[in-house]
Structure formats: C-alpha cells, structure tokens
Amino acid sequence: MIPAPFDYAAPATLDEAISLLEQHGDEAKILAGGHSLIPMMKLRFASPEFLIDINNIPGLSYIREEDGYLKIGALTRESDLEHSDIVRNKFPIFTDATKLIADPQVRNMGTVGGNIAHGDAANDHPAVMLALRAEVVATGPGGQRSIPIDEFFYGFYMTALQPSEILTEIRIPIPSASTGNAYHKLERKVGDYATAGVAVQLTLDGSGTCQEIGIGLTNVNPTPLRATRSEDVLRGQKITDELIAQAAKFASEDCSPSSDLRGDEAYKRSMVGVLVKRMIHKALERAR
C-alpha cells in the first residue's frame, strides 16, 4: 500500500500543466480526484514518475447551461453533480449514477472528468455519456478540440486523449422536454464496480413515438459500449413491451462481458437484458 517514488507538481494554470505534460510525456499522469490513480499506485499497478496535480487550477469546476449544452467542468466533483439543481431537474440520470459511485467520501474528491479520462469501462459516467451523446473537450498545446463520446474510448484504459492533452469539459446536448433518462447498475456491495450497468435516454414526440434514444452499457465489454441494435429497434417506433423485450435481447447479445468473481458471462448478459428493460421503463416514465 505504499507507492513507488514519484515527483509531483501542482501548477496554477492550465498552460503550465500542459507544458509539464509535454515535458514528461508518457511518464506523467494527471492527478485530479485521485480515486482511481492513487489506489493503483499504492498497489504498484501503476508507477508514474511524475504527477501533475490540477486541483489548484481555477476554472475547471462548474455545471452550467450554455449554447444548448449542459457543460460540466472536468474537475467537478461527483458530489457537486449529485447535489446540483440543474442536473436533478433535467438529468436525473446523473443523480441515479452518482449515488452509485463508490461512497460519499470518494464522491467528495472524485471528479467527473477523471471518471471518463481514466478510460475504464467499469466506471459509470462513460455509459451515461454514451446515452446522452456527450462531447468531450480536450485542451492541449494547440488549443481545444471537441471529441464525440463515440470516438473517445479506444480500449482498456485507452482514450482519444493525446499524451499532452487534458480533458477539460464535458458537453451534453440539452434535449427537448419530452425526454427521460435513467441509470442503474448492479453491484455486489456499495462501492463495487458494476456487475452490469445500463444508461438510457429517450425522447418522445407529441404522438408518443420515440424520436431519439441512447443506450450505454457499463462493464460488460472491453470498452464502454453503445447498444446500437437496441437503439435501432426503438428509434422511430411507438414503444411497446415487445419492442423493449427485443431491445433488451439485442443488448444482452451484443455486449461481451467477461466471467469473473461477479458472475459468469451468461449471468451478466441476463442482467444486461433485465436492466435495459427496467431503464427503458424508467426513462419512459420520466419522459411522460
């Protein structure tokens, strides 16, 4: 439980942080909330030589509506998201999700940006962001760029972030009024990674037809997974129990869970199916 030696800097500006990243390259890691990185370092699964602590950089923690987006600063703590009025009213999915992230102490430190930038399919925000069709803003030496969430996750702990880029903001399109979203994960005990987790957002038109839908899956695939076939079944349709069952079946078929102490593949596929069904129902209730 004692990490290998490392150097540490706490820059006061984003530019400084980026130039430190450029200087140290792969040997450097960004320290935000630290709730994924520090345990890995203590177990010596990760031994970065240089930590760049971004907690002193002002202007990276905010939740605001702007230009048709909900914008979340990367340093926003999970507990801020959990208790934000904007979020609670328009995106109850975040309230669902943050309550299931670890425990209050961790949520007081852990950041939304870190949860995504870590590139772990077991984290909860990636699936939520897939359902919400978010964009990730990366800031590097050349300025800002926006990355659609579908292009962000590459592989196990691998993301579209370049070595000298820092994730600085998450942008979520604000949907029309008849929209509902929901998230749930099954966990063995509080603070556990998901056995399986499902995020759903759907938008209905005036006639009750499903205009748009996003479904993201947690920890049942090497990367956070969009349940594309399930979305296609429902998009443009009046949602019925039969269609929901079909969507659930497709999601359980299309994921690739690995067997582990949480359960075998069959069990996890089954849980994906159940959760897709339940989260669609919950999102529907919230949309109406």
Binding site: M1, I2, A4, R188, K189, G263, Y267, S270, M271, V274
Partner: protein, 788 residues
Amino acid sequence: MNCKTSREVGGMGHSLKRKEDSRFLAGKGNYVDDVKLPGMLHMDIVRSPYAYAKIKSIDASEALKIPGVIAVVTGKDLEQYNLHWMPTLMSDTQMVLPTDTVMYQSQEVAAVIATDRYTARDGKEAVKVEYEPMKPVIDPYKSLDPEAPVLRTDKEGKTDNHIWHWEVGDKDKTSKLFEEAEVVVKEQMHIPRIHVASIETCGCVADYDKVNNHLTMYMTTQAPHAIRTVIALVAGHVGLTEEKVRVISPDIGGGFGGKVPVYPGYVIAIAVSFLVGKPIKWVEDRSENLQADSFARDYHITAEMAGTKDGKILGTRFKILADHGYTDASANPSKFPTGLFSIGTGSYDYDTAFMEADAVYTNKPPGGVAYRCSFRVTEAVHAIERITDRFALEIGKDPADLRMQNFIKKDQFPWKSPTGWEYDSGDYHAGLQKAMDTLGYWDLRKEQEEKRKRGELMGIGISTFTEIVGAGPSKDFDILGIKMFDSAEIRVHPTGKAIARFGTKSQGQGHETTYAQIIAEELGIPAENIQVEEGDTDTAPYGLGTYASRSTPTAGAAAAMAARKLRDKAKKIAAHLLEVSEDDLEWEVGKFFVKGAPEKSKTIQEIVFAAYTNHPQGMEAGFEATHYYDPPNLTFPSGAYICVVDIDNETAEIKIRRFVAIDDCGNIINPMIVQGQVHGGLTQGLAPAMYEELIYDEEGNILNGTFMDYLLPTAVESPNWETGHTITPSPHHPIGAKGVGESPTVGAPPAIANAIVDALSHLGVTHMDIPITPYKVWKVLNEKGIVQ
C-alpha cells in the same frame, strides 16, 4: 431493566456512555502504529507469490544498494540462532522464515529493515527471489489421497497430510438410530474460509535493550500475558526469559480472534531488534493482513438429523473435514482441537449424537482462528440450525413449530447434552415466542403463501442457537498448559477512587466501562471513579486474554469476587468505626449501616479512607484485592433470530426486509454496550452469509486478496437490526451474566441462509452453501427455468 444503583454510581443495568470513547472520538487513541521510539527502524516483508515452491536463491544485493535499507533478513539468518521455527498455540509448528520451501501464497520469505517505512517497501520490491514452483495441494478432499505429496516433510516420519482425528458422542448408538429412524435428512455444507479483517491490521514495535537485556514488545494482541509466556518459550534460549520481557498491548482496533495467534512478523521483529539493538516497527498493510494472517472457519460438514414423521428430533450426526492450511494455527483450548463444536447438538431435547472431525494440511495460509465465535461454535450452530430446517422441510412442518416442539424446556436445566456439556440455564420457548411476536410471524407466513402464487420469492429463516462461552473451568481448559482462569486486581485509593487491572484485553468491547460498572455494583464506588487498565504485562495480573466471549464470564466474575473480598474488609472496618459487631451491620450499595439504626452508617468512601488512616489494630492497612477466577462451568447464552428476505425474481438480488434478534445473555451490565455488540455481531454474521469468502484457485492463488473483491458489508448492506432480550441469569456466575459478544455472529448466518433457502424451497432447493450471493441464487433460478 431494574438497577440496584443510582445513575451516579452507575452499576449494572445502566447504559453508561463508554469511558474509552472520548479518546477514540478525539483521535487520541494510542495504537501500535502510534508508537514512535528514538532510532526506530521499519520492517517490510517479502512474501511468496507461489503456494508451494522451493526457494532456489534470495538475492538482496539490489535492495541493499538503496539508501536507507539497513538489512535483509532470511530464514538462513534466523537459523543461526535457531529462531526460524516457532510453535503454534495448538502445539503444531510454523516457519518464522523459510530456509528452503514456501508452503502458501503470501508466506513470509525475507524481511527488509530500513530507516523509514517507504524505503522498506522499496527495498522489498528490489529483493529478487528465485523459486521452483511445485504442484500444490489445495482441495482438502484430495489432501488425503495416497498420491498427494506429503506437505509437512519437516515433521519426522510424517507419511500423509492428516493432522488429527477427533470424535465425541456414542457412535454405535447413533448409527443404530439412523438405521432405524422414520426420517433421516442429510446435507453437505461448507462453512467458508473467511477473515476477521479488523480495521487495525497486525503489527508491533519490538524494542530490545541490549544493556539491560530487556525486551519491550508493543503488540496488537488479545492475550498479552500468554504471548509473553510464548516469547519466553521461543526466545528463552537466547536470554529472553519471562522476567526480561514486557508485552504492552495498547489500544486495539478490533481483534475478533485474529490477534490471538503469534505471526511470523512479530517474531522476526523481535529477532531483528535483538540482533541490531534498535526498535523495529512492523505494521502489516491491508492485503498482507487479508492474505497471510490466520483465516477462520473452512469446515466441510456432512450434517445428518434423524427424527419421527411428526417432528420429534431423535439424533444428529456430523462429520467434519477441517482444512487448516499449512499448519494448525488455531487458538483453541488444548484439549479441544475442534474448539467447542460439540455444542452442535443445539437447543433441542434429544440424547443421541455423534460427531467426528479430521484435520488436514493444504497449501493455504494457516489457521483457523475463532472469528468472534467462541471456538468453532459458528460452524456448529450453522450445521444444527440448517439441518433442523432441512428436517422441517422434509416432513412438511413449520420450522418454528418444529423448534417449539423440540426445545429443551426451562425446567430441564441444568441440562446434560449428549456430547457432555451441562447447559446452565435457558428459556428457549420464551425467546422464540418473543421473536415471533415481534415479527408477526404467522402473518408473514400467509403473505409468503400468497406471494408464491404470484411467482414472487419471499423467505423466512429461523435460528435458535445455544452458545457456549466463558472458557473455562481449569479441569478441562488450558492453552499451552496454562489454565484458562482470568484475573482482576482492585486498588482503592485513600480518597475512595480506584484503579482496577485485568488479565484480559479490550479491543472494542468497552471493558473500561463495563468492568467499572461491575465494581460499582459491588462496592458503590461510582463507575466514573474507577479507572480500568489492561494490556501491560508489567502491571496487570496474569490472565489468558479476551476472546471467545470470555471476558465477562471470567474477568468480569473476578472483578465481582475481588470487590466482594473488599466488601468483607470494609465490613470489618465499618464495625470498628461504628463500634458495633460485624453481625449488626447491613450493606446497602455504597454503605454499611447498623441494623435498625440506619442513621448510624459509614459510606464506602469513609471506610476506604479509614483503611489508610484509622484501620483496626491487627488488620493490614490499605484497600486492595486480587482474584483469579476459575469458572465452575461455562455459560450458555442463547438467542432466537428470525430473518425475512425478498428475492428479485429477475436479478436474484436478495433484500433482508426484517431481522429480529432476541438474545439471552443473562444479566446485562450495560444495555447500550450489549446492543452495540449485537449490532456489530449481526453485521459480522451477515458477512459470511451473503458476502465474504476467501477464494483460491487450483494453484493456490488467492482470487480476492483485497477489499475490492473480498466483500465486507457496510452500513448500506446492513438491514435495520431489531434487537431485544429475554433474561435468564447464569446460576453459577457471580453476577449472573453470560457473555454476548459472539452470539450474533454465531446466530445470524443460519437465520439468513434458512430464509434464502426457504424462499426457494418450493422450487426443490434444500440447501445452499454460504455465502449466498445473488449470482448463486440466479444460477439456481436459471437451472429451474425461472430466469434465462
């Protein structure tokens, strides 16, 4: 509860706030890791990645190049001083550090000594050990195969992996009964290997003073006096005889049995301090604690019950395979290799039973300690309470009715069990009735019937257990030959305030409060004026320590007896002061008064003052007493627990809707502390029932060696515990108390398991091994075609 004393005096029955808590809440506790001595060095331990391997070489050269690394100590170094082996408390043997072979994953291989904790850890990383892995023996059932390798080649003449055989009861009578009985039920059960996982891990600061040839050992131990004796036995040949050793057990952050054994780390720290002449601190990290320290349980039990079709229990038969890992490192009384498993005939009136056990070695960490369960009582209670439910299911009788039918009746106590125990007292019918009334048992049974018709899964499980604690009477109970008495020494100062010292050691039990209450009850000195001290072998009287719910039954009794000696002395002094005969005096808590003239009285404070200022001619001055209490019998707490579960018929998630726990621990010293003990114990009973198990693969690798996968339930997982009491005092205990710390840990698992099995019994499920997880239940539902 009726109290004899005022709130100000705070004797028995008062819910006094715990005296120790103010320092814990203020962060002012003093734990081993808080001990910092001048010149102190730090130790980390290189551990084996293999379950069974030859050590080809240990190369410390890179580690020794790191600035601040002082030394790397191996088994070969300790061998020069004959300190590389040590005895276990079960008279088995265990390596301190290996000279040639490692026997389990995470076994200690070498120790790195450095100037600070961080450097020690870096040094550990730099030690290169070359191993030659061998095929380990992991499955205890295969351990006795003729082709299995003999693991303990260090034991001369050992030709197999068998450790010992134990049996009790009448084998032939039991066989005959089972051949002839109308109904026989049988289940194979595994009580999983689990870990105490106390908040504080194990550690020590070994401080050897070369000039005075004296060792002070600050140590996380539940039994400081016994440990001092063990150190003297192990290290006496190098000059550390018992008077040269002082063991100090400071504040302890949870023990639960895991801090009874002597771990290699302690001995290495002593050896290194002895060799380098500096204090050595060793504190395990969480993973080391979980992976290497003594496990608990790991009993494979074949349980059988015989009875009549109308529900009369006639007999039980249990056959145990005990997996002890590399060595038998249990902490049982010497004559009881399976602990007090023989309490497993339960709370029921029948006269035929037979139990036998065989213990084996495997390539897993050694153990097993009694994790908050007296000695193997959890295993026994699980077996009897599960098989009782199985019997009820077989004959189609409600398990509550079946228990009521078979309970030992209140007027049958003292009751002689078929395995030889004499149960002191109990009222099992009252306990279960109270639990059923609290719950609304029969309404819930109706609800369950209706739910089943709708395909919903709901279950109700009962556990009506008898515990056996307070070890124990010297004719039967010893550890390494030392009888299992315990002690109290009370010194009352001239101003009427007292210090009391004990041979036990609190690890969270609240002794500083409850012992003071016992003395307050006996003498009338306010509990707040009685300072309780434990854990320093230089000052406290000798005792066997705190585990197995023995503190109140033994040291608590010693406190009352010592206080009564003082009361006898007080009476003599009072007679002298009041100028009357002792026969003319009467005691009312806190004072003696003259019969018929209550205005003529002397308070205990006046009497104590006189003991120092005006004592009668011929009487010794002072006001002190010591008592070593040798209990005449064990005590037999009991309880009736009922659990109600709802199971999601898609996800198989298990929700405990209600849990009612009615305990009978005899007279209660502090109701609030008892309730706290019960809450904690129930949560530690929930743990193995639904969450915890140490899992090993075929190569002996632990698969859940951190808290990420070794699932300790938290407040979130814990249901609302509904607690209550019946009170049946122990007739032989000076204050009628029985001990309560372990009842809930022992009683809860079968109540939960029985509830879950009950929820699935209509599908043909008769038994499930704990921990019963949603995944396990899902697999059952999947097999039965309920879920896909």
